[in-house]
């Protein structure tokens, strides 16, 4: 009895800002780095913006800064870490000169390696940060979002950025029409564990069960998207969550198909490989690596009809 009373009233709570299931899961996942995880999820997220080259140039944006500092983000030529000003309440922002976007979330669109002639698809596009990053670099971008409310935000953001080559669609991503694309981004709905620096509430709410609950949809979405890829096409699968069930396991599920292969991502990002066998080329980005949110990114290519990779476009 005394033991129970002690456990309730006398002993300090182990992690009052994190639930126990989250702690147990991440101790196993991160091992020695769990203490870094505890430290970094409490740090406020560093602000960053991406210059919208449809409206202005990087040089033009620097002029806008009027002497204030902006530190380039190594993996995105248009990305900058900025100070704590209210960047969403400025005239250049409202006119679409830049997009407020977390630095790690710039990685997936960069990893796609878009080319000017590409027909591209962002299959879960709202609110539009990655879609607006992709649009200036390709011939046509289909930005898909099944939720009508979220589609309004997507529409607003793509218009603010002046995107003329985009098509906004509202399909269920797992049942997208049979159209073929050169490049596809699957930034999948996820349990959002990696956004803890932006919203600490997730640390109280997140459980491994939430992650496991997302995985079936993620697998269906990735398989559906992969079926839309042209031979030799490239697909990037990304999430902002830590769980293996939502990341490596989803990618491995697709690899069973035989025509998919994980490619190495060549970007200036400090990262570590995927955690399961066969996922070495996947990219895990932890907050303490680059002072960002958590991100998981996998670049997947499709073998051509002869069962070979096209090395020219890799």
């Amino acid at each position: 009895m005394l033991g129970i009373i002690k456990s309730i009233f006398l002993l300090p709570k182990r992690n009052s800002y994190m639930n126990e299931k989250l702690v147990d899961y991440h101790k196993k996942l991160l091992g020695d780095e769990f203490s870094l995880f505890q430290e970094w999820v409490k740090k406020p997220l560093r602000k960053s913006v991406r210059v919208n080259t449809i409206r202005t140039s990087v040089a033009g944006f620097k002029e806008e800064l009027d002497g204030m500092s902006a530190e380039p983000i190594p993996w995105c030529a248009e990305g900058f870490w900025v100070d704590d000003r209210p960047w969403g309440a400025t005239i250049p922002y409202l006119l679409g000169y830049y997009y407020i976007q977390e630095a790690a979330s710039m990685i997936p669109a960069e990893a796609l390696g878009l080319e000017a002639a590409d027909i591209a698809l962002d299959i879960a596009a709202a609110p539009g940060s990655k879609a607006s990053q992709m649009a200036p670099r390709c011939r046509t971008l289909v930005a898909n979002e099944p939720s009508a409310d979220r589609r309004k935000v997507l529409f607003s953001n793509l218009n603010r950025c002046g995107v003329m080559n985009g098509i906004i669609t509202g399909y269920d991503g797992t049942r997208f029409p049979r159209v073929k694309f050169d490049k596809i981004l699957v930034d999948a709905p996820c349990s959002n564990m990696g956004t803890a620096r932006k919203d600490g509430e997730i640390l109280k709410e997140w459980t491994p069960r939430m992650a496991a609950g997302m995985a079936p949809l993620q697998k269906r979405l990735l398989r559906s998207a992969f079926s839309l890829l042209k031979p030799d096409g490239k697909l990037v699968y990304s999430t902002c969550t830590t769980a293996v069930e939502e990341n490596e396991e989803v990618v491995l599920d697709l690899l069973k198909d035989g025509s998919a292969r994980i490619e190495k991502i060549d970007l200036k990002v400090k990262s570590r490989p995927g955690l399961l066998e066969g996922t070495r080329n996947c990219m895990r980005v932890y907050p303490w690596d680059n002072d960002t949110e958590f991100f998981f990114v996998a670049k997947i290519s499709k073998r051509n009809k002869n069962g070979e990779q096209d090395t020219k476009r890799a």
């Binding site: 603010r160 003329m164 080559n165």
Partner: protein, 130 residues
């Protein structure tokens, strides 16, 4: 329709659009430069709406304008971007408010004022007028 819209945008505002296709959803006009794909959706940029007094360009189409500007100072620009009308004389169906290098948005001259029609999601908060 296409040549009429192109001509109106160019004549009134100096907006020269690249090669592309126009489409309409109700009174709203869209302009698309990509390759057409067999999907159902909204194609391209919302560039204007057909009003009884002519084509009203959107804030985003105005970013390509080269004429028909009404210049404002910083204080007026902030008021305008908060969604408030301007006490200023102007003529024509629509004019475009410009502050320095920033092309703000279209306005409608009426009785010594320029009426503001800035969408709510493109406005500065009222407390930022300074």
């Amino acid at each position: 329709m296409e040549s009429r819209i192109r001509s109106e945008l160019e004549k009134k505002f100096g907006i020269i659009l690249p090669k592309g296709r126009f489409s309409m959803e109700g009174k709203y006009v869209f302009f698309f430069t990509g390759e057409d794909i067999q999907v159902t959706g909204t194609r391209g940029l919302h560039i204007g709406s057909m009003e009884s007094d002519g084509l009203r360009p959107t804030i985003d189409a105005c970013q390509l304008a080269t004429k028909n500007f009404v210049e404002v100072d910083e204080k007026e620009a902030r008021r305008w971007m908060c969604g408030l009308d301007l006490e200023k004389e102007a003529s024509g169906d629509y004019v475009i408010i410009r502050y320095g290098r920033y092309i703000l948005s279209p306005g409608k001259p009426r009785g010594g004022r320029i009426l503001n029609n800035l969408p709510k999601n493109r406005r500065l908060p009222l407390n930022s007028m300074g």
